[in-house]
Symmetry: C2
Subunit: 258 residues, 2 copies
């Protein structure tokens, strides 16, 4: 969606190819060396920061659409993408009165008030976690900037996107013990120090390291290997892997008890 | 939506009041004396069993729409309603070719192929748990039966509704340890025997009763009261309540560890 002809076609004919009353917004978290960041775009229409989002093609599944949106903004494909909540308050994304001249100025396209992009939308929130150091942020046609922000110093977001971020974090914190969320953040075999740092960063709090592995193993998340990594004289910590099979089993049967 | 005039208005003009590309389907579970049931409707168009569902008014929040749908089918309002997943496979609800005569026969209304009800939809799944003995099941305009089915002997469902039920059960089983799902199934103060029976029924498996309360208390779900219920000579079990405050705290901070 780069040329003016493509932009014009999307605005004027997009409703033939996309659903118009449902959108997707993505909370894309970036982790690298104990830092947690969130990807934001600067929306030209409201002149403020938002989560990256987009529409769903009539031929796509939801996760395909979310993957395409994440890929377009980060250059990274095939992430673990998880729905976290649907946002459907009728006033959730009300912007100012329809302003025909503003549309022309910002997009170069003259639209009418019944354009599909002006429809009321319900938005499906997806979250993803990736390594921000591997990404290449790209703005979309409705934005003029796309950048990573430290999770502790986010700007105030437009629409209901502050609530979206809160709900995404909440879901990650609950699901951290049920899904292999760390999968693509850690090497296949990792040390306790590595997973401990990841979990502390995602949860935003200190975790007692002496208790931490015991609990994760008791929950069936981790498997201790008969293997160590040599990282120096007298330093060869044990290696661990995620126990994917036990995850799936636990989810099927109900977790934690029994 | 009972008279023919109302049905006709809904079919011909509904798109002015409802979103047309998003619907809600509800997995309404019923619990009573260790039995678990699911509410189903018999859809006239496909002549098969489905979850009850409906559309979202342009002025409603999602949970208001879900509550209205549950109320219309069961007569019960204000349940704990929880989104569990959005279903958006482009082929998820494809029915046979549009058949104008069938529409006339089943609804008494002549519609064209571009009618809003024939649009491709994405569906938001909500679950609720209620006491089936208190409900009064009512079919909707598109169905000719509405009834409770034992969870262990469900008929095969139409569209993607088998998957919806599977995902709803899965979510309940995970969330059972994070949300006060039992709230409206148990008296405010309950015995261990009562909550044990509820959890066993919802999880569909036996739980060791000697271990069960210890784990629930450790997770911060239950509070033991200094109070007993007298149920006969030498029988006065301790009473428990849900610790709603600790639930909220645990969810905010990340559950279980730390």
């Amino acid at each position: 969606m780069n040329t003016q002809a493509e932009i014009e076609d999307f605005i004027l004919n997009g409703h033939k190819h996309y659903l118009s009353q449902v959108s997707i917004d993505c909370a894309i978290f970036g982790y690298h060396e104990q830092q947690l960041k969130l990807l934001l775009i600067n929306n030209k229409f409201v002149d403020g920061w938002c989560l990256p989002g987009g529409y769903i093609k009539k031929t796509e599944t939801l996760v395909e659409a979310a993957n395409r949106i994440v890929m377009e903004r980060t250059g990274i494909g095939n992430l673990f993408l998880q729905q976290f909540k649907v946002f459907g308050d009728p006033n959730r994304a009300k912007i100012e009165e329809f302003d025909e001249e503003k549309w022309v100025k910002l997009t170069g396209v003259r639209v009418t008030k019944d354009n599909w992009l002006i429809d009321q939308t319900i938005s499906i929130g997806f979250y993803a976690i990736t390594d921000f150091s591997r990404s290449d942020p790209q703005p979309d046609m409705m934005s003029d900037d796309c950048a990573w922000f430290d999770i502790d110093s986010l700007p105030q977001l437009e629409f209901d996107h502050d609530e979206m971020v809160k709900e995404a974090m909440h879901t990650i914190r609950v699901q951290l013990y049920h899904y292999p969320i760390g999968y693509n953040m850690l090497p296949e075999k990792f040390t306790l120090t590595e997973i401990h740092a990841l979990y502390e960063t995602l949860l935003g709090k200190k975790l007692d390291i002496s208790n931490f592995p015991k609990k994760l193993i008791a929950l069936g998340l981790l498997k201790k290997l008969d293997e160590k990594r040599s990282i120096g004289a007298h330093r060869s910590p044990h290696l661990y892997v995620f126990d994917k099979e036990r995850y799936d089993q636990a989810l099927k049967e109900g977790v934690m008890l029994g």
